[in-house]
């Protein structure tokens, strides 16, 4: 339940029908965990199957295989033709897709609630029964290479991000792009895909999330019928990725590309993530990002760099604690045309230093907390979003209890916690500072 807290404009937020009351869980004998979120406003269900396997679980040398496999799961199985899965979903008026991150791979369909059993039947089928041909590999590998072309190689900002991330992680596979490095993608084979598939596509590595107009007991019954008979992977590897050594030296990157139109400076710091039963530091970092660079009009960066002094056209501070291993805290300044990147970086650093000295504006903190409380109300309008949150959490090392405790933990963060978090995270030895600019000849200033 939400705690009732007085806030600045005397708004006393009424606790909504909170997530906790609508969320139930169960676990099958084969190790598959499940979360059910009820929302009976419309006769719709979102069926999601998440695997605790993503790009950071790949072996060295086959970068992109987790994502490639995600594409291949839409090909044939022992029981379905290639493309039949999506065609069946569409024939039932639904939509389906899939996504791959460093920590998870997810598949989802959104359909009329009475089609849930059919979705489970098909999803269970492709968990253990895919049938890949060499032709599938060649054609779909071209598709993922075009995807890389479109999303990364055609986008200088994405190439820059890839280089920065690679510099951020000295040892952890988070430094490798999810889509894969092109030279390794070009060599991915059927065997590479099947090895990843046979290891991780198993009920004991999967999390089922069902959200919408459903009865939890019926969902459990259906899950037993369709997912229950699946055999677990017996020697499922313990999820221990190579960890970061102490980071002792600042890294600086200058990326130049003639396609750059708007230069900027971005810096990321290695930062702790949310851990099960231990989310306080992550909560302080979450609020730090909001306070420092959340709102252009009221955040510290916004006021100091955008509004009053007009040093920047845009600024931001960002942090996401939903990670299995170490994450990042980032700061960004897009300067006005009359500032060099060197000046912009100095301005931003001066604001950070001053902020740590001055402390948190308590009225601002109160507003941020009010918005977090209100988001608990607004979020109930988007059951797909809630489903995603639980799926991501449970595949990132958190529990249902952690998800439900998170709003209260955020509310309990103090001004002192935020400053302490800032002092902890702003360590340049653990940072990558990137300059994004046009090649020198084209710089007109």
């Amino acid at each position: 339940m939400l705690r009732l807290t007085l806030c600045a404009l005397a708004c006393l937020l009424v606790a909504p029908a909170t997530a906790a009351e609508n969320v139930t869980t169960f676990k099958l004998d084969n190790g598959m965990e499940a979360v059910v979120i009820e929302d009976h406003r419309a006769p719709v269900v979102v069926h999601m199957l998440w695997y605790r396997a993503g790009a950071a679980d790949e072996k060295p040398g086959v970068s992109g295989i987790a994502h490639f496999l995600e594409h291949l799961l839409f090909k044939a199985t022992d029981n379905m033709e290639a493309g039949e899965f999506s065609a069946t979903v569409e024939a039932n008026g639904g939509s389906d897709n899939a996504f791959t991150s460093w920590d998870y791979t997810g598949y989802f369909q959104r359909v009329a609630a009475d089609r849930l059993g059919l979705m489970m039947q098909m999803e269970a089928d492709r968990m253990r029964n895919i049938k890949l041909t060499e032709e599938d590999i060649i054609t779909e590998r071209n598709v993922i290479l075009e995807e890389r072309n479109q999303r990364t190689d055609s986008d200088p900002g994405a190439l820059f991000a890839e280089q920065r991330r690679s510099a951020q992680y000295l040892n952890h596979p988070y430094g490798i792009p999810i889509i894969g490095w092109r030279h390794e993608m070009e060599q991915l084979t059927r065997e590479d895909a099947l090895e990843f598939y046979e290891t991780f596509y198993a009920p004991n590595a999967a999390v089922l999330v069902v959200a919408g107009d459903v009865d939890p007991a019926e969902v459990e019954e259906l899950a037993k019928i369709h997912y229950g008979p699946l055999k677990p992977t017996v020697d499922l590897p313990v999820r221990e990725r190579p960890q970061e050594p102490p980071q002792l030296a600042e890294r600086r990157i200058t990326y130049e590309d003639p396609r750059v139109s708007q230069p900027y400076v971005i810096r990321t710091y290695l930062a702790p993530e949310r851990d099960a039963g231990d989310q306080e530091t992550a909560a302080a970092l979450t609020l730090l990002a909001d306070i420092l660079g959340g709102s252009s009009a009221t955040s510290v960066f916004g006021r100091e760099l955008e509004l009053d002094n007009r040093k920047a056209v845009y600024t931001s501070a960002f942090y996401s604690g939903m990670n299995y291993d170490d994450t990042n805290f980032g700061v960004l300044i897009v300067p006005t045309p009359d500032l060099t990147l060197e000046q912009a970086e100095a301005e931003m650093d001066a604001v950070i230093t001053q902020f740590i000295e001055d402390g948190v504006d308590s009225a601002q903190l109160e507003r941020v907390k009010t918005q977090i409380r209100a988001s608990a109300i607004y979020e109930n309008d988007n059951v797909s979003g809630l489903a995603r949150r639980y799926g991501a959490a449970l595949t990132s090392g958190l529990t249902v209890e952690d998800v439900q405790a998170w709003p209260d933990i955020l509310q309990s963060v103090t001004e002192e916690d935020i400053i302490a978090a800032a002092k902890m995270v702003f360590d340049r030895d653990k940072a990558v500072t990137g300059w994004y600019q046009k090649p020198a000849a084209e710089v007109t200033q």
Binding site: C7, A8, L9, C11, L12, V14, A17, A42, P43, V44, F74, A82, G83, S86, A87, E90, N92, G93, S95, D96, N97, V111, A112, I138, T139, N142, V143, L145, E146, N149, Q150, R151, D153, S154, D213, R259, V260, S261, S295, S296, A297, T298, R303, E306, L307, R310, V313, Y314, T336, R367, T370, Q371, A374, S375, I377, Y378, N380, D381, N382, S384
Partner: protein, 436 residues
Amino acid sequence: MIRILFALTAAIVFTLPARAIDIQEVTSPGGIKAWLVEERSIPFTALEIRFKGGASLDRPEKRGAIHLMAGLIEEGAGDLDATEFAAAREALASSYGFDVYDDAFSISAQFLTENREDALALLRSAINEPRFDQAAIERVRAQVVSIIRSEEKEPSDIARRTLMSMTFGDHPYGSPLEGTVESVEALSRDDIVNAHQDIFARDRVFVGAVGDISAEELGSLIDDLLGTLPETGAPMPADADFALQGGKTVVPFNTPQSVALFAHEGIERDDPDFFPAYVMNQIFGAGGFGSRLTKEVRVKRGLTYGVSTYLIPKDHAELVMGQVASSNDRVAEAIEVIKAEWKKLAIEGVTEEELADAKKYLTGAYPLRFDGNGTIASILVGMQMDDLPIDYADTRNDKVNAVTLDDIKRVAARVLRPDDLHFVVVGQPEGIETTN
């Protein structure tokens, strides 16, 4: 202030698979109409307000004025400067979005029941008394210029700009609604004030609301928000001439993957054949993995990550348009496959099985659209702007199911004109030359 609701007319129930959504038509005491769905389970309301006209009401030489004005609405209003306004909104935890499209200006608001009065008072002052302080104008102008400069280096934006300019020339549709760096830098505060007066008027407003609010409360809320706006604004623009002809245009750009945008003239939203055309496009290029183009270009040949087509019925012109991205050495092949499929569909139409599948999908997917208060509010406004009846949702699937193979064959032959297709290709495509 409490006012008596002047009139509450038709209440229509339409049926979703197992439920009913009850759309009420509300007329405010001041005479403004709105569609409402009361949905009491979550204590907030989503309000969608749209003004017909949008960026196409930009005055001559003032391209980008309405877009810039939209960016300034929340940058200070009444007694509050930009920071104070944002602080007040954040303290109420409400959100207001101001978006500009070619033919509409939209306001999307969400506010909690418990502080609705305060949230609405703030929104009211943003709509009615924006300050347009010079400092805010300069700041937002710099942001807009930065965005325009970024789009100038973005292959898909370059393609769109090129194609629209060739198609519509000097009509507002022929240029990006953000304006150019030059036009935006030349805008004065008076231009922004004019843009505000041109857009906000009662004779062109459409309202939808979904959430924890009664018809009576909504009626008085609408009058508070919109009741003192002028009766009329700028006149609507003329219909646009369609100048695009068949061919290809290459825009050289140093990138590994070419983006191709292609189009010819389309079909009006209120054309009797719009439904067959819509179903046809579903089969051809709008669908997910099952569409003909996705099968031929992506699944069979691996030529792209994504290919799609869409019908674009604007208020003053219509297009059939599509997009594909392929590496420079393969985009020519992708275009040839698309042209061949275009021709095939125009001549042969679709199969019985394709039509049956598309109907199953479209009729099954329709009720799933009504998902979330904000989404439904937006649908309610869209229906009103398209001049659809309040029971439209009841009959819409029947219209889809009524489409026959002959309908599609007729409309394919009429709407799809392979020789009129023009491809704008941005990149370094191999084997493609600019025609004409």
